[in-house]
C-alpha cells in the first residue's frame, strides 16, 4: 500500500492571488500618495472646523438660521419636513423606474445565459457584452452629469431629475443583481434545465427564488441611496433634504445641518429596520399551515396555505408608496420652454461635437484634439483617479472587512449562528447586541454623512492635499461596504458555521472557516462595485486642483466646454468597464 503523500497542493489559488494582489495594490497606492498624512501650514488650528461643526451636534436648529428671510415664511421645521417628503417622493419615483429596469437588464447581464444553448453562443456573448457595456455607461456617469445632459433636452421638470437619478441606479442594480444571481448555487437551476425547462424558467423558478433575500437586501439599500443622492434633484429646483444639507453647510449653518442629518439618518434607519424585518421573514420557515394537511380535502388544503402578514403588507405599502409618489402632488412632467425638446437636443448635441470639428466640420480634426486632451490632462487625470479610488477602497475594505462580521446579527449575538454558548448572562447577551448595534450605527453614520462634509473637515485637520479626499471617500465607502457585507453574512447558508461552532470553534473561527470560504465571491463582488462608485464619486474631488477626472469634469462643465467634459467622462466609462471585466473574470475563477 502506497502511504507516501501525494505532491503538495499548489500554493497559489485565485483566492490567494486576489488577496496578494490586494495587498500589492494597497502598497502601491500608499507609495504613490506618500505617507505624510498631515501637511498643514504652520500655525494652522486644525481642529477648529471640526469643533465648530461637531459642537453644533448638541444643538440642532429648530428655526431658520438664515437671517434674510421675509417675515411670515413657513417655519424651518415645516420646510425641512417638506424637503424630506419631496425627497421620499422622488426617491420612490426613481426607484420604481430603476428596479424593474435593473431587473430586466440584470437578467440579460447575467453570465448564466452564456452556457444556455450551444448554437446561440455568439449571439449570447454579443448580448452579454453589449448589456454589460450599456449598464457600465449608465452607472459610470454621475447623477449630476446625467441631470446636466437631461436638463438640456428634457427641460427642468421633476421627471427629468427622476430619470437622471434612475439611470445610474438602473446600471448599478443591473450589475449587482446579475452578479448576485451568478453567485447562487447552480444545482437547482441545473436540475430544472434537465427537466426540460428553459433557461428563463430555470432562472425564475430556482436562481431568482434562492437569491431573493440578497436581491431584496440590495434593493432596500439602493432605496436608501436614492434618498441620500437626492441633492441632485436640486438641479431641477426641487428643494430636497440633500440640497438643504448642502446649502446649510455652505452657509455655515451647522445647527441646521445637524437637524437635517438627524432627520436623514432616522429615515434611513427606518428603511433599514423594515428591510431587516423582511429578511428575517424570508429566512425563517413559514408559519405552520393551519389544520392537518394529511387528511384535509383539497379545498381545505388551499385554505390551509400558510400566510405571512408582514410580507404582503410591506409589498403593498411599497407599491402604494410608489403609486402615490407618481400621482399625488405637483405635476411630474412639466414643460415650460418655448423650444421643442428636439430643438434643445440638437443644440446641446452640437456642443458635444469636438470643438475643431464643430467649426470646420471636418472629423479628421477630432484625432489631434483627442490626443492633445490626453496629453495635457487626460492621462494624468486618469492615473490620479485610479490611485485615489483604489487607495480609498483598499482602506475602506480593510476596515470594513474587519468590522463587518461583528455587525452581522447572526454573529454579534450571544449565540453566534444560533449555537448557544453557555448560559448567557444577560449582560453578555446585551453587550453583544450593543456591539452589533453600535457597529451598524457606525456604518449608518459613516454613509449618511455626505462625503464633501467629511472631506472638508479632514482638509481642516490634515491640510489641503490628496489624503483627506482619499480618507473621506474611504469613510463613506466603509459605511456602505460594512453594511452590505454584514448582510451577506446574514443571508448566507449557515450550516457549516453552525457545525463548526457546535464543535467548539469560536465565533471568529466559525465565521472565518465556515462562512467566509463560500461567501468570498459575494464579498469581492461588492469591492468592485464600490471601486466603480469611487471612480464616479471623484467629482467631489473637484475641491482641490488635483487633476483627477472629477476635477477635470467639473472644470470643463463650469466653463461650458461640454465636448471635453464628455471626453473625460468617456475615460471614466472605460476604466469602469475594465474593472467590470476584471471582476467578472476573478469571480468566475475563484469559485
Amino acid at each position: 500500500m502506497d502511504k507516501s503523500l501525494p505532491p503538495t497542493a499548489p500554493l497559489m489559488s485565485w483566492r490567494r492571488g486576489f488577496l496578494l494582489g490586494f495587498i500589492l495594490v494597497t502598497a502601491y497606492c500608499l507609495w504613490e500618495l506618500g505617507i505624510d498624512f498631515v501637511q498643514l501650514p504652520p500655525s494652522a488650528s486644525p481642529y477648529q472646523s471640526a469643533i465648530n461643526f461637531f459642537s453644533a451636534a448638541w444643538q440642532p436648529a429648530f428655526v431658520e438660521q438664515n437671517p434674510s428671510l421675509p417675515d411670515g415664511s413657513p417655519s424651518f421645521i415645516n420646510r425641512i419636513f417638506g424637503n424630506l417628503l419631496t425627497t421620499l417622493r422622488y426617491a420612490f419615483i426613481a426607484m420604481s423606474m430603476a428596479v424593474p429596469a435593473g431587473l430586466v437588464l440584470g437578467f440579460f447581464a447575467s453570465r448564466i445565459w452564456l452556457d444556455a444553448t450551444k448554437h446561440l453562443k455568439p449571439l449570447l456573448w454579443a448580448n452579454y457584452l453589449a448589456v454589460r457595456f450599456i449598464t457600465t455607461v449608465m452607472r459610470s456617469i454621475h447623477e449630476l452629469i446625467w441631470v446636466l445632459l437631461f436638463l438640456s433636452f428634457l427641460g427642468d421638470s421633476p421627471l427629468t431629475a427622476c430619470i437622471a437619478l434612475a439611470i445610474p441606479f438602473t446600471g448599478t442594480l443591473a450589475k449587482v443583481f446579475s452578479e448576485i444571481i451568478d453567485e447562487q448555487d447552480p444545482a437547482s437551476s441545473e436540475h430544472i434545465h434537465l427537466a426540460g425547462g428553459s433557461s428563463v424558467q430555470a432562472f425564475l423558478a430556482a436562481r431568482f427564488v434562492i437569491a431573493l433575500p440578497d436581491l431584496l437586501t440590495y434593493t432596500m439599500y439602493r432605496l436608501e441611496c436614492a434618498i441620500r443622492s437626492s441633492a441632485v434633484l436640486g438641479f431641477m429646483g426641487l428643494e430636497t433634504i440633500g440640497l438643504a444639507i448642502k446649502q446649510s453647510y455652505e452657509n455655515n449653518y451647522y445647527n441646521e445641518v445637524w437637524t437635517e442629518l438627524y432627520l436623514l439618518t432616522i429615515t434611513v434607519i427606518c428603511f433599514d429596520v423594515l428591510g431587516t424585518l423582511v429578511r428575517k421573514r424570508l429566512h425563517r420557515p413559514a408559519p405552520s399551515p393551519r389544520g392537518n394537511t394529511a387528511t384535509a380535502s383539497i379545498a381545505e388544503l388551499k385554505q390551509a396555505r400558510p400566510r405571512w402578514k408582514l410580507l404582503p403588507i410591506t409589498w403593498w405599502l411599497l407599491i402604494l408608496g410608489a403609486v402615490i409618489a407618481w400621482t399625488v402632488g405637483d405635476d411630474l412632467n412639466q414643460y415650460h420652454s418655448h423650444l421643442s425638446r428636439w430643438e434643445r437636443f440638437c443644440s446641446f448635441a452640437k456642443q458635444l461635437i469636438p470643438e475643431p470639428v464643430r467649426h470646420s466640420g471636418n472629423w479628421n480634426e477630432a484625432l489631434p484634439w483627442l490626443s492633445e486632451l490626453w496629453k495635457t490632462d487626460g492621462a494624468q487625470g486618469l492615473h490620479m483617479t485610479i490611485i485615489i479610488a483604489t487607495a480609498a477602497l483598499c482602506i475602506a475594505s480593510t476596515f470594513g472587512y474587519l468590522l463587518a462580521p461583528w455587525a452581522s446579527r447572526n454573529i454579534a449575538n450571544a449565540s453566534p449562528f444560533g449555537i448557544h454558548q453557555g448560559p448567557a448572562s444577560a449582560l453578555k447577551a446585551f453587550s453583544w447586541r450593543v456591539l452589533g448595534f453600535c457597529l451598524r450605527s457606525l456604518f449608518t453614520v459613516a454613509r449618511s454623512m455626505p462625503e464633501y462634509i467629511i472631506a472638508f473637515l479632514l482638509i481642516g485637520i490634515l491640510g489641503a492635499h490628496t489624503w483627506p479626499l482619499v480618507i473621506a471617500l474611504a469613510i463613506h465607502n466603509f459605511g456602505i461596504l460594512g453594511r452590505l457585507w454584514a448582510e451577506v453574512n446574514e443571508n448566507h447558508d449557515q450550516a457549516v458555521s453552525r457545525h463548526l461552532a457546535a464543535r467548539g470553534a469560536t465565533r471568529t473561527q466559525a465565521y472565518l472557516f465556515g462562512l467566509l470560504p463560500t461567501s468570498f465571491n459575494r464579498h469581492i463582488l461588492f469591492i468592485f462595485y464600490r471601486w466603480e462608485t469611487c471612480v464616479r464619486e471623484s467629482t467631489i474631488l473637484g475641491m482641490l486642483s488635483i487633476s483627477s477626472l472629477g476635477y477635470l469634469i467639473s472644470r470643463e462643465s463650469s466653463f461650458l466646454r461640454y465636448d471635453s467634459m464628455m471626453y473625460f467622462i468617456g475615460l471614466g466609462v472605460l476604466v469602469v468597464f475594465a474593472s467590470d471585466l476584471i471582476s467578472v473574470t476573478l469571480r468566475r475563477q475563484s469559485r
Binding site: 500500500m1 444553448t117 448554437h119 446561440l120 444545482a187 437547482s188 441545473e190 436540475h191 430544472i192 434545465h193 434537465l194 427537466a195 426540460g196 425547462g197 428553459s198 428563463v200 424558467q201 430555470a202 425564475l204 423558478a205 430556482a206 427564488v209 434562492i210 431573493l212 433575500p213 424570508l282 420557515p285 413559514a286 405552520s288 399551515p289 392537518n292 394537511t293 394529511a294 383539497i298 388544503l301 388551499k302 390551509a304 396555505r305 400558510p306
Partner: protein, 248 residues
Amino acid sequence: MLELDSISLHFGQHPALTGVGLSIAAGEQIALIGPSGSGKSSLLKLIATEYQASSGSLSMGGLNPDTIDAKALKKWRQSISYIPQHLALIPNLNVAQNILLGQVGQQSTLATLGNLVRPNQVQLERVHTLLHEVGIPEKLYHRADTLSGGQLQRVAIARALYQKSSIILADEPVSAVDPSRAHALLECLTQVATEHQVTLICSLHNLDYAKRFFSNMIGMREGRVSYQGSSEHFSIRDFEDLYSLQHG
C-alpha cells in the same frame, strides 16, 4: 431504446467513465450498482444530459443529444425525470412548489410562475396524492429546509414522478429512508414504471433492494461496466469482483 457507445468522460485527466457501452430497451428496469466513486452518478448525469461525453456517443430512439437542435433537446429532457443524488431542491420554497417544478419543462414560463404563486386545484390534488404515496402529506406547505434527510429525498422522488416522463433516472433514491419506506418507494417506482412502460435506471448501494425490485443489474467499477446481467445470476464471486476494496 437508449444506446451508449464506448462513452468516456474525463474531468481534467481524471477518467470518471471509460469506454462504457450499453443498450437499454424501452420499459426496462435496471439497477445500477458498484462501489462508491465508480461512476454511477456520472453515468446518470450523462444520460440526463447534465454532462457531455468526452468521447463516444449517446442516443435514444436514434437521436443524439449532442447533435440535435435545441427544440429536440428540450423534448429529450422533458422525457427524462432525474432524481440527483444531491436532490437539487430549492430550500426556500415549500414542498408543493418544489414538486410542481417537476413539470417546468412542459409549461410556459408564465404558467410556472403562476403555479408557484397560486397552484390550481387539480395540480395541488396531484401533488397531494404523490405526497401521500411517499408518506409525507402533512409536509405539503413546509419549507424544504425544515425537512429531515429522508423526507427531502421523498420530495425529490415525488417531483420526478410529477414530471410524467418515459425514462426515470434515480440516483440512490432511497439511501436516506428506513427499510419499510424504502420498500414502499421502490415498489411505487417500479409499479409506475411497469404501468406506464417507463424505463427505470436506479443506482443502488443496497443489493437486497437491487435484487428484489430489479431483474437486471449493471455493475460499474472504476468507470467501466464490469457486470451486466440478471440479478438472479449475480453471484458471490461477482460481488467480490465488483466490490473488493482497492485501498485501506
